[in-house]
Amino acid sequence: MIKHAVLFVLALELLFLGSLGLDQEILMRTGESVVLRTTPVDPRDIFRGDYVILRYDVNAVGAAGLRDGLAGEPAADGERVYAVLEPIPGSDDLRRLAYVTDVRPDEGTFLAGRVGRPPGWVPRPVGGLAAHYGIEKLFVEQGRGWEIEERRGRRDGMQIPMEVELAVAADGDASIRDFRWSPMGVTLEVVRADERPPTDDGDGDGDEAARAPTVCVTLHNVGDVPRWVIDPGGASGSHCSFHLASADWGGDAMRTATSECRGITMDADALHRLAPGESYSVTLDLDAARWDVVDDDGVVDLATRLAGNGAAIRMVYRPDPAWLAGLDPSLGEAIWTTELYTPSFGLAGRID
C-alpha cells in the first residue's frame, strides 16, 4: 500500500507542475501578441539576482487614468483591476495605457491585475493606484541582468525603453514572450533650475514666484538604420513635437495654452535625419509662455502649477500624425513617429 501511495504522490506532483507549465505554454502559443514599452527607469529599480524588474505605464496610474468604481474611491489592496490598452499612433504593435477600470471590459485588449505594489518600489500616485499584472519580472541568465540594466539606462543618462512582447489571453492574463529594444533612446538634462521655493519678499507684491526649469531633451538613434525625427517650430523655439505630461500615467497630456503650434506646417527644417549613433537635442525653457498650461482655473504658468501641488512632470516627444501627410512616402518607417517619454522631474529640477 505504501509503495502505491508514493507513486500516487509522484503523479500528483507531476500533474501540478504539468498544469502550471501547460497553462503558460498554451498562453504563449495562442495569446494575442501585445507589445508594451517599459517606462523610464528611476533609481529605485533594483536588479536582484537573476531577474530584471520591469515597469510599465500600467503599474502606476494617476487619478486621471481611473474609471468606473476606481474613480474617486481608493482601491483596496488585492482588488481586481483591468488595464485597457490602446495602440500608440505611429506604431504597428506598440500599446499604451488608455485607462484602468474595475469592470471587466467586454472587448478590446486589456490586462488583468491586482491593486498592490509590484516588485521593486513604485510610488503610488496621489489619488491613483499602483497595480501588478504578473509581467513585472523577466528572468534572465545570470550576468545578463546587468547588461540589460546598463542598456536600459539610468536617470541621469540615456534611457532606452525595452519593448516587451506579451501573450495576452482573452481574460486579461498575460505572460512575457520576448523583448526587444526601442531603436530610439532619450536623455533628459536639467540645464537650469531655480531651487528656491516661492517666497514672500515682504514688499507687498505677493509671493515671488519660482521659475520653471530649463531642460535639454536629446533623442538618440540607437538602432542600426537611419531615422528621422519630426520637430516643426524648432527654429522659433516652439518645438511643437514636444509636450508636457504628468509624471503619473494615464489620462491625457497636459494642455498648453500656446497657439504657436496650431496649424503649423512641415518645412525642410522640421525633419532631422539621424544616422545610427547620432542625436537630436532641444533646449526647452519651460518658464516661457509657450509652456503655460490650461487647467480648471484657466491659464497658469507652469511654475505656479507645479508649485501649487508639488507635482512632477515629464517631457514627451509625440509628433502629430497629421504632419506625415506632407512627407516623402519613401521614408516610411524611418520616420520616428511613436512617443518617447523622459524621466519625470520637479519644479526644482530634480530628476526622479
Partner: protein, 423 residues
C-alpha cells in the same frame, strides 16, 4: 530504552567477572533485553542531507537560467529527474535496499519538486506564483511523508511550511491566520505520534509554539505574552498526560514548556512586569478570555500531574492567574503592593525546589542545576526589591532560607523511611 539496554549489556561482563552472575544468566539477560537492530542514524542523516544538497544544486543549476537551453528541454530534465528520484526510491524499497537509500532518493525527489516549481515560474516569467510555491512544496513533502511514513520527509515538510508562514506574513501580517498551524497540527503531528518520533514531536511542537501566536497576533497583540504563557503551561500539562498514558515520545515537550514557563513566571515575580504580561491594559473581553484559558490550562495541568509538589507549585500559579481574572471582572479592584506578585514568587520558588528534589531522586544533574538556577535568580532579584523595609526583606529571606533547609531535611527523612519500608 536502547541506551539502558546498551548500559546493561556493558555491565554484564563486569558482573560475570565479579562472580555476581554466571554465563547462563548473562545470556538470559541479553536475550530478555536485546540491543535491537542498529538504526545506523549516521548513514541515514548523511544520506538525507546529501540528497537535499544535491537537490539544491539542481535548483542552482536551473537558476543560472542558461539561455542556450530551450525552455522545453529544461522542463523535461526536471520532470525526468523527479520521476527518476521518486521512481528510484520506490524501486529501492521493492528491492529491499537500506532505509537510508530509500529515504535519500525520495528526499531528492521532494527537493526536485521544489526545483520544478521555481523552474516553471522562471521559464514562463510567472510572478507571483499562485498558490504560494513554498506552501505547495511543503504539501508535497507532507504527502510524501504520509505515503512513506517517513520522518525525514516530515522534517522537510515542517521546515517548508514554517518558511511559507514567515514568507506569507510579510504580505498578510494584518490578518489572523491559523492555517499554517492547522496544517502542522493536523498533518505532521499525527504522523509524529504514529511513528513515535521524539525529534519530530519536539520540532513540530516548537514550530506550533511559534506559529500559533504569530497567527492570532493581529487580533490580540496586548495579550500575546499571556497567550505564550498559556501555551507553555499547556505543553507541561500535555507532557504529564503523555507520561501517564505511556507515550514517551511526547514527554520531551515538557522541556520546551518549562523553557518558556519558568522565565515568564520569573517575569511575573516583578511588580512592574505583571501588568505587561497579564495584558491588563488590553481590551477587557480579549484579556478576560485569554486569562480564563490560562486558568483552565493550569487547572488541567494540576489535574494531570501525579506529583504533589508539582501540583502545589502549579496551584499557586493558578491562584495568581485567577486573581488577575478577578481583576478583569472588577471583582477585585485593588492591585497594589507585593501581595499581588507574592503568589508568583512562591510558585517559582516551589518549582525551583521541585526541580532540585526531582533531580536528586533521578540522579539528574540538569534538573538539579535548573532548580538551583531558578532559586538563585529569584533570590538575586528579591534581594534588591522585595519590600521597602530592609527589616521586612531580611525577615523574608530568613524565613525562606529556613524553609528550604527544612524541606530538604523532610524529604531526606521521608526517603530514608521509604527505603527502610521497602527493605
Amino acid at each position: 530504552m536502547a541506551r539502558v539496554h546498551r548500559w546493561l549489556h556493558g555491565e554484564l561482563e563486569d558482573w560475570q567477572a565479579e562472580g555476581l552472575i554466571d554465563s547462563r544468566q548473562a545470556d538470559a539477560i541479553r536475550t530478555r533485553y536485546p540491543l535491537g537492530a542498529s538504526a545506523d542514524w549516521g548513514r541515514l542523516v548523511l544520506s538525507a542531507i546529501g540528497a537535499v544538497i544535491i537537490g539544491l544544486g539542481v535548483i542552482l543549476f536551473f537558476a543560472y537560467n542558461w539561455d542556450d537551453m530551450p525552455r522545453l528541454v529544461k522542463l523535461s530534465v526536471i520532470f525526468a529527474g523527479l520521476i527518476a528520484a521518486h521512481g528510484g526510491g520506490w524501486w529501492a524499497a521493492r528491492q529491499g535496499r537500506s532505509r537510508s537509500s530509500v529515504e535519500a532518493a525520495h528526499l531528492l525527489g521532494t527537493t526536485l519538486f521544489g526545483a520544478g516549481i521555481w523552474l516553471v515560474s522562471q521559464a514562463y516569467h510567472i510572478d507571483p506564483i499562485e498558490p504560494d510555491p513554498l506552501l505547495v512544496w511543503g504539501i508535497g513533502a507532507l504527502a510524501t511523508a504520509w505515503a512513506l511514513l517517513s520522518i525525514p520527509q516530515a522534517f522537510a515538510a515542517v521546515g517548508l511550511l514554517v518558511a511559507w508562514t514567515l514568507h506569507d506574513m510579510q504580505w498578510h501580517s494584518a490578518t489572523i491566520d491559523l492555517s499554517p498551524s492547522a496544517l502542522l497540527a493536523l498533518g505532521v503531528l499525527p504522523l509524529a505520534l504514529l511513528r513515535r518520533s521524539k525529534p519530530l514531536v519536539l520540532l513540530t511542537t516548537a514550530a506550533l509554539f511559534v506559529l500559533v501566536p504569530m497567527g492570532v497576533l493581529p487580533g490580540i497583540e496586548d495579550v500575546a505574552l499571556l497567550l505564550i504563557f498559556c501555551q507553555a503551561v499547556a505543553l507541561v500539562a500535555l507532557a504529564e498526560l503523555a507520561e501517564r498514558f505511556g507515550r514517551p515520545e511526547v514527554v520531551p515537550i515538557r522541556a520546551l514548556g518549562y523553557l518558556v514557563y519558568l522565565p515568564m513566571l520569573f517575569a511575573l515575580t516583578f511588580a512592574d512586569a505583571w501588568r505587561l504580561v497579564m495584558g491588563l491594559d488590553s481590551e477587557p473581553g480579549v484579556a478576560m478570555s485569554v486569562t480564563a484559558v490560562a486558568c483552565g490550562l493550569v487547572g488541567f495541568a494540576i489535574w494531570v500531574s501525579r506529583r504533589l509538589e508539582q501540583r502545589i507549585a502549579l496551584g499557586v500559579t493558578g491562584a495568581a492567574v485567577a486573581y488577575y481574572a478577578a481583576l478583569h471582572l472588577n471583582i477585585v479592584t485593588s492591585f497594589d503592593g507585593w501581595w499581588l506578585v507574592l503568589p508568583f514568587n512562591l510558585a517559582l520558588a516551589g518549582h525551583g525546589v521541585l526541580f532540585i528534589l526531582d533531580g536528586s531522586s533521578r540522579r539528574s544533574w540538569p534538573r538539579i542545576s535548573i532548580g538551583c538556577l531558578v532559586l538563585f535568580a529569584l533570590a538575586s532579584a528579591r534581594f534588591v526589591d522585595i519590600f521597602d523595609s530592609l527589616l521586612a526583606r531580611s525577615l523574608a529571606f530568613l524565613i525562606f532560607g529556613v524553609a528550604l533547609v527544612a524541606v530538604g531535611r523532610f524529604v531526606h527523612r521521608h526517603d530514608i523511611r521509604s527505603e527502610a519500608a521497602h527493605d
